[in-house]
């Protein structure tokens, strides 16, 4: 094991898969000459050549469509969409083509494509550059939506995504690229499955169900809650479609309480979907209504003070937990 960043981990995953399989290519805006918008693809064009690492014109629709077509005809494309905000221009091909063709053509074709894109706010980038939007994709049958929170998971899941036969969206977070964590040494092969969550901290009093950057907020909250005598378990879903539901339900069976934590908007979103599944399949295990910590129901503001108030913090999580969890006496 060694310590590396989320950014490096993603790059290593692509490098290793490109070495392993010649069919793997990367296309996207500013992945080569610019050095990668978030420097994830830096150096890969030099290493693998510009046939396999291709800067595209500024056109998300054709990036997505060409990636889908290439995937259907033998290549294994990794398409980088600069941010999830711009994926709305690619979403037609992702939702109307990638997610549909296998089914509507009677199972005759596969779409082994990966769409990588960062989401999220918190850097004062304003209303059109700070969205999560994972909900939109997680809603769609035919897609996998992966949202790793740590370098270990990012590398292992991107490798799995590239080998996967189905279309996978790997949604990164703009504020996670510099986050450091333990990753196996180079040459030590590992992957992380796309249908398994991970308990990032064990606990007995309440289950925090979360994904992406909010995992780190939950870990911070759990630490604070521990000082107050509340033992919180942090379930990192890692992948929201498919969701590792049994991991969540088993945890809730143990703690009898759940708070769902996400950065995105509250209504009709991933978090409400997760809460609904817990109610549907784990109702008898609940001792309290499920808590829900989210971003404020508004477009993201630019001003620093407003933005700070718009996104959830560990303090919000602590408060939500306390609302449904009695502090046990004798601790």
């Amino acid at each position: 094991m060694r310590v590396t960043t989320y950014r490096e981990a993603l790059r290593e995953a692509m490098r290793e898969e490109m070495q392993r399989d010649e069919r793997v290519i990367i296309i996207g805006e500013d992945i080569d000459a610019y050095g990668g918008t978030y420097a994830v693809t830096k150096g890969l064009a030099e290493e693998f050549g510009r046939d396999r690492v291709r800067d595209t014109p500024l056109a998300e629709g054709v990036i997505a469509g060409a990636a889908v077509g290439a995937a259907m005809s033998g290549l294994r494309p990794v398409a980088e969409i600069m941010t999830i905000n711009f994926s709305l221009l690619a979403s037609d091909q992702i939702i109307n083509t990638a997610a549909k063709v296998r089914y509507m053509f009677g199972g005759q074709t596969n779409v082994p494509v990966v769409f990588r894109m960062p989401a999220g706010g918190g850097a004062q980038r304003g209303a059109q550059h700070s969205q999560m939007l994972e909900t939109m994709y997680a809603h769609v049958p035919g897609l996998k939506v992966v949202m790793p929170a740590t370098p270990y998971d990012a590398k292992g899941m991107l490798k799995s995504a590239i080998r996967d036969e189905d279309p996978v969206l790997l949604i990164e977070h703009e504020l996670l690229y510099g986050v450091r964590g333990e990753v196996p040494d180079i040459g030590e092969e590992y992957t992380v499955p796309l249908n398994r969550g991970d308990i990032k901290r064990e606990g007995t009093d309440v289950t925090l169900v979360t994904f992406s950057r909010a995992v780190h907020l939950c870990l911070q909250a759990a630490e604070e809650l521990a000082h107050e005598g509340i033992s919180a378990e942090v379930v990192d879903l890692r992948c929201i479609r498919p969701i590792d539901l049994d991991l969540v339900l088993d945890s809730v069976k143990k703690t009898n309480r759940a708070v769902v934590v996400e950065e995105g908007w509250k209504y009709y979103g991933a978090g409400q979907g997760i809460a609904a599944m817990i109610y549907e399949y784990g109702f008898d295990d609940l001792d309290a209504p499920i808590g829900h910590v989210t971003g404020v129901d508004a477009p993201a503001p630019y001003a620093k003070n407003l933005e700070k108030a718009a996104f959830p913090t560990h303090t919000d999580i602590v408060a939500a937990v306390k609302k449904i969890t009695p502090v046990r006496s004798g601790r």
């Binding site: 004062q124 304003g126 550059h129």
Partner: protein, 340 residues
């Protein structure tokens, strides 16, 4: 002295010196913004207009106050030319309540109803279809305004560019499309992105009048814009203008500019600075001298410095404003609870 009667491109000394001042205001404003960013007073993305001043100022000189301007995230210069108060503009960059968009928009989302500077859009090429809509209003509501929309060479790669140009011709819309071709979209060199080397064949494809101009020459830009605006106003027909220019700084303040050489950028600054070129032209024509230029420079610098003072001393937005102005009808919020 005869000097008073001299003109260039049909503009008198006062108009020419105003044009000069506008360019300098843009230049100094952006330098102050860059300082604000470096000091951490401005956050998020900051895209400067430095190097492209001749385009926004030249086009604007062809406009009436009632005409509409729509732009991208690189819009500070367009806003200043349109008359937006530098104080309120800088305050927006600083995220203050006194900003044009109440601090909620930031550098990329400038909007001034008063000056008909209708955004500041940060999704590349989104502003072109929007401009078509404004032009449709002008036509159907019989309001005689012209809509000018600015965008970069990168926007040309998006489907929205093609859809908008086609619609503008089919519907005969009074709109002027101004492409500021600064040779790069982020790190993508235009010759690697475009199948053709100029926008002329694209305009032809949409049966649209076209003009390519030296975007470093404010008077060339002005004259092309004048024709296009006249065409739009009098015959309700669109025009595509390609202004060849260069951004002297990186794409945004976060850009390490690895995709172009320092020498290339330096060459442009040395030989094609639009302000220097304009001063040379005025000097050669015997219309203005170094003293005139210095006066404008001092004034522009002072206004930019004052804008910083204003912004820095303005209050932050109220926290309650976080959820204001989302919709006209606040009961349109998702979970309206009945008062009980």
């Amino acid at each position: 002295m005869v000097i008073r009667d001299l003109t260039l491109a049909g503009l008198n000394k006062e108009q020419l010196l105003n044009l000069h001042y506008t360019m300098l205001l843009m230049r100094h404003f952006e330098e102050k913004a860059a300082e604000g960013y470096t000091l951490g007073k401005i956050g998020g993305f900051l895209h400067l207009y430095t190097g492209q001043e001749a385009v926004g100022s030249g086009v604007n000189l062809a406009l009436e106050p009632n005409d509409v301007v729509i732009s991208s995230y690189r819009e500070h210069g367009h806003a200043l030319a349109k008359g937006v108060d530098p104080n309120a503009l800088m305050a927006e960059l600083y995220g203050r309540a006194s900003g044009v968009s109440k601090g909620r928009g930031g550098s990329m989302h400038i909007f001034s109803k008063e000056h008909k500077l209708f955004g500041g859009y940060a999704i590349v090429a989104a502003q072109l279809p929007i401009a078509c809509g404004y032009a449709l209003s002008a036509k159907l509501l019989k309001e005689n305004f012209v809509t000018v929309v600015y965008f970069g060479d990168g926007a040309v790669d998006e489907g929205a560019f093609h859809e908008a140009l086609n619609l503008a011709t089919v519907w005969q819309l009074p709109v002027v499309f101004v492409c500021e071709n600064n040779l790069y979209s982020m790190g993508m060199a235009v010759e690697r992105a475009w199948a053709v080397s100029s926008l002329e064949p694209r305009a032809k494809a949409y049966a649209m009048d076209f003009e390519q101009v030296n975007g470093m020459n404010a008077l060339d830009v002005f004259q092309a814009a004048q024709k296009a605006v006249k065409r739009a106003r009098e015959t309700s027909r669109p025009t595509l203008i390609e202004a060849k220019t260069y951004r002297f700084r990186g794409h945004s303040m976060a850009d390490p500019t690895a995709y172009r050489s320092k020498e290339e950028a330096e060459q442009w600054r040395q030989t094609s600075d639009p302000i220097v070129l304009f001063e040379n032209a005025l000097r050669e024509a015997g219309i203005a001298n170094t003293e005139d230029f210095k006066k404008n420079d001092d004034r522009a610098l002072q206004i930019a410095a004052k804008a910083v003072e204003f912004a820095d001393s303005s209050p932050l937005p109220d926290l309650q404003s976080l959820t204001e102005d989302i919709m006209v009808d606040p009961t349109g919020a998702i979970a309206w609870r009945r008062p009980r």
